[in-house]
Assembly symmetry: C2
Amino acid sequence: MGLFAGHEPVDHAELDNFGVDWVIHYSFEDLGKEGTSTKPMIDNTLAHSHLLGAEISQAISEFVTLIHDLEEAHLQVQVRHGYGPSLLVFIRIPPDLLGNMVYKSRVKDWLHGIIHEFPAGDDHTVVESETAAEALRSVYHAVTWQKHLGGAGITPKIGQWKNIQAAIPLQDRAANAELLRKWSKTVNITAEDLDAIRALFGEKVAFYFAFIHCYSTFLVFPAVWGVFCWFYLGPYSITCALVNCLWCIIFVEYWKTREIDLSLRWNVRDVGILKVNRPEWVWDKEVQNPVTGETTKVFSTQKQFLRQLLLIPFATVAALALGSLIILSFASEVLVSEIYTGPFKGYLEFLPTILFSLSLPWITNTLTEFAKQLTDYENYRTQDQYDVAQTSKTFVMHFITAFLPTLLTAFVYVPFGTKLVPYLDVFRTYGLMSANLAKEIHIDPARLQQEVIYLSATAQLLNFGEEIVLPYVKQTLMHKWRTYRDGRDAARMPRRHSQRTDLLLVDAPEEAAFLARVRDEVEADEYNVHDDTLEMCVQFGYLALFGVAWPLVPLGFLANNWLELRGDFFKLSLECQRPPPIRADSIGPSLQGLEVLAWLGTLSTAAVVYLYRNSMEGVQFSSFLLTLLLAEWAYLGVRFVVQTGMERISSVTLKRAEAKRYGMRKRYLEATSGNVSPRGKPRVRFEDKVSVYTTGTDVSTSKEGLLQPGHDGLHHGRQFWSWAPQEAADAGVRMIKALNTTMDGSRTGPTKVAKGA
Amino acid sequence: MGLFAGHEPVDHAELDNFGVDWVIHYSFEDLGKEGTSTKPMIDNTLAHSHLLGAEISQAISEFVTLIHDLEEAHLQVQVRHGYGPSLLVFIRIPPDLLGNMVYKSRVKDWLHGIIHEFPAGDDHTVVESETAAEALRSVYHAVTWQKHLGGAGITPKIGQWKNIQAAIPLQDRAANAELLRKWSKTVNITAEDLDAIRALFGEKVAFYFAFIHCYSTFLVFPAVWGVFCWFYLGPYSITCALVNCLWCIIFVEYWKTREIDLSLRWNVRDVGILKVNRPEWVWDKEVQNPVTGETTKVFSTQKQFLRQLLLIPFATVAALALGSLIILSFASEVLVSEIYTGPFKGYLEFLPTILFSLSLPWITNTLTEFAKQLTDYENYRTQDQYDVAQTSKTFVMHFITAFLPTLLTAFVYVPFGTKLVPYLDVFRTYGLMSANLAKEIHIDPARLQQEVIYLSATAQLLNFGEEIVLPYVKQTLMHKWRTYRDGRDAARMPRRHSQRTDLLLVDAPEEAAFLARVRDEVEADEYNVHDDTLEMCVQFGYLALFGVAWPLVPLGFLANNWLELRGDFFKLSLECQRPPPIRADSIGPSLQGLEVLAWLGTLSTAAVVYLYRNSMEGVQFSSFLLTLLLAEWAYLGVRFVVQTGMERISSVTLKRAEAKRYGMRKRYLEATSGNVSPRGKPRVRFEDKVSVYTTGTDVSTSKEGLLQPGHDGLHHGRQFWSWAPQEAADAGVRMIKALNTTMDGSRTGPTKVAKGA
């Protein structure tokens, strides 16, 4: 593409990855904490190590097993030490082997119908990978897949390998820097940029960036429209509400077609089916493929569905737990700010929010842990399905924490506050408060608007700082502290090992920069693409649910997202481990989240407009319900129309993909036709062979000619079919004349007709 | 299968089809009615026919062109005369040609991805057809497809061939009789029976029978449950309502999975894409397939979608027209039955209904005609899409006429009757009535129940009579009348033609029975499968919308459907033309109709239960709306859960199909692997070839090693990778020991740990 050509040369020495494909971070720090190990030693040559204690010998035996397994899988290994008591095992795959693995991976894709062009070749074919991610995916498989699938079976943090802290590819610093530099200068990113992310980090990550890009581009319209509404219509405008809801529906439906588009562009459509089994997965029966005779392990879908139904009580419990916490904090805040008149009011006002913020992580973690156990129990075959299920649960919790406070403000506190607040009087009976609650309470309908403004401006900025700036500062400080500590330790206790060992503990000068970088990378956080997607969904949710209260919301979001996209890429490429290039054909369960939010958004917008338009005056319960009902029906109707329209757009894409596939089959047909003799079925005549039952093996019963069309009566038809073609035509002409005469009857003779014509 | 074995032998002579594959009914009766024709004569050998008038010569020229076109398409033809001024052209395809056409049709299916196993062979391969329908489909294509596609281009009733009244295959009397006899003796029909229908009439018809069978089987549960409710819960029970709604949702979702199941069983999934263009279709641009270079004509989907939006005003107009008619007739009926006290009350009561019934066909026909023009304007490429669009419009109209009267009774007349009826007082001002409307009006809440009982019992029976018995009687009488007329004509005016012509006009004795049958068949009605499907949908609609008013409704429907299934097959096989064996992968737009009815049904059931449970007492508008809103949300929630559950069931089917496809690819791989040399791409080494941009053709820019993973640094890494495997392992072990010492520091010596272990 020449995109990166013409820039200043990059310092290769600093960016060089030394040909390393993958790095395993083996830490034996935790071994001592687990008590004594009874595991017998594997390698007799290491017998002398028992002198250093059972933990050390276990560490050594684990390490040796690791090296052994990697070498068995034909991977080249190299070892350096990491920070603290840990080792870095560097892995390289011989190019021919890698090329062959890429080829075999493509054959597997073809076998499962992911790609449609048959990758011609044999068992030893070597191909070049199309993207870096494709090559890395093969490396990933070589390292992590179970041994019977041809991998080394190294699964970080699980079972036998629980002391392996990370197994990751190394960041491609140069490519990352180029992309980041390019984006900092432009407003929009292109399809080629998305392709570049896909080439570096795989489709799963690329789908997130495609989503935020698509969403931000879509935001331009409501941002402009919002400014217009702000000047001419004001908040709670019906026109503004209608346009916003329509926009939400169109965006969600458009994104679906975009997903299909991208999954075809990236050849990952329906890629979910060929993912390998999770190591933790349990099957309950084996199914044999009737054609190939291969057996597949399966877990009863009914059983799984029943287990999934546990999500309903879980969601209820989570909603109740989080809901009551939120309501409690909300009530305390109201209590303090509106009613309390004692000392320290200025400070106490923040107390509930602070307490809520402090207890929220604990509750969320407990619920997440519980959700994880539920997901484990649901027993998903692939990591993908597992992630989807776990993410769905996280979504439910995040949606509750994100939207419930504002929903309470909008639909409980402001409309019913004057009726509900006096109930807080109960506190006075416990002597907690001396103020008189019977006094007039002012509840400001503008409170909703204030919250929305806060959410769309301040909160987004704070979030950005927390998500991207804070980790960067933390990482830098951590790095400084480590350098200081290592220097101090070295000074306090000079090492006393053999000279050879001492040499091993000191980095070679030409490797020093590289190793320092690798040590940082293996200790960095894992990048979780679901979290970033979730953040965008929550943002979309605010817009859909409460955008009508302050028309400038989309403008704030648009500005935020310009930064967010770049910040997320900064985080992904500089602050996190490089994620393994996993394939995906969508943004996963977030799509359902978006649909639910667009639906909830329509209801919420209708309700907000109805309630707040005339500042709660003339509000009636039955008209409120009627508004909701009409909004609901309008949503269903509009969505149906938009869906139908969008299906046409995606049908064009699908047709193009189908045309491509058709072309491939056509070429194949042309290549084989003529030189392939008909095999299998003999050249048989059609008669007496057609059975009315397709599944029947016993054709003889229909041989009597009962069930065939047409050809059943050849023995009777010999006379019937005896005329030559010209005879038949002639007979027809004669009959036309004759029948015409008969029809006209005796009244109008044939000659009369001729005269009349 | 041996299914039909052991029965008494069938009279072959009477059932024999004389080897005829297809029959064309050419009628020149209408030619004379169109005025003089200026069409020049085509065949000079027919010059003498001008004596019989321009119409006759046109008939002859059309006939000769017909024979010529058929022979050009390599079809054997034979001619006999039909009833009145018409000819029967019999078509037979030579078996080898037919077998080859079937093979080519399979190749086409494979090219478009309908079937997945490559049909091995060459241009001259002859295969046996799997079913009679498959062979007939090839005949159908040979007769109707445009000449450039290899057919004869005979399109009945359209353009050049507008005088061809029918082009149909002949009924397979024996097979039809066997099936009908079998079903009259059993309660349930089997999957093999459905396969038999498919083999005889093609997938489109088979899908209808599969649907009615599936629906009737599902009806067993609500029938039993309804009897229970009838005895223990009574009408308008909440439990009964909940169960009914749940059943409706489950049935609709289950049918979707069943459709997938059947379309895979019958190899017709996504068959819509390879249908040929309709002759009337207009394209606006040509698109080239980038792979094969073939051009495809397309019509802009955007333009079509915009045209489709015209459906909204159409539906509005139709709803208003039908709605006002229904309301008018309803109001008159109420007027007469409740208020009018003058003479002839007993007869006048039926007048509105009779007037309504008489005017309904006219209005429906006008609307249908208008709908047809709209569908024509929407310009669909294939006949399938056209049918879907036209049927959708018919559905809308039928739903209005079917449900609006009962909806009016349930939600307007009974609840608001006492308020609305006095408005009819307006009639008195015109002196039309003398009764006093201010008197107390009794509106019986049981009226809804009476209507529902009528609909589920009487109406179904009447419908059956109208649909199946009446046409049979009509057909028989028609046949008798024709025989009588022909005899009379022959007696009144003895024919005066040449002896040879006279011979042509008299049936040969061995052909007489066959020709009589064919003449009846070509003049029979076309079988419209959409109408039958629609009827079942309307029945489902009654059940979903008003079933709760009388729990025995499903029992009545179940009994009716036992008869209906057999009656429909009787109609299809004895009263109608044999439909061309068209393929389809669903019941078409009826599926959407079912979904809408399940949704409407939930709302309607909730409303009916709320209103009628306590006989309209304590009814409040806000609680009514709340009931609707809750029912709506419950519907959405339950449907989501049911859908998720059903997707699992269909995913099993899809997985099985995928496994089959996988098996085929695997076998292909095994067959080609080893003897196919890698072609296309040369065996290249992996390094320096990976580009970050997948679409790039210029790989050279990334050759500097900026963008590759791992392998970029081979020139730096030579030193890094210099250790032999054993050296690396050894170095690791040394480092573990050394780092452990460093970690434990000076406080806990290594020996201490060993002692503690």
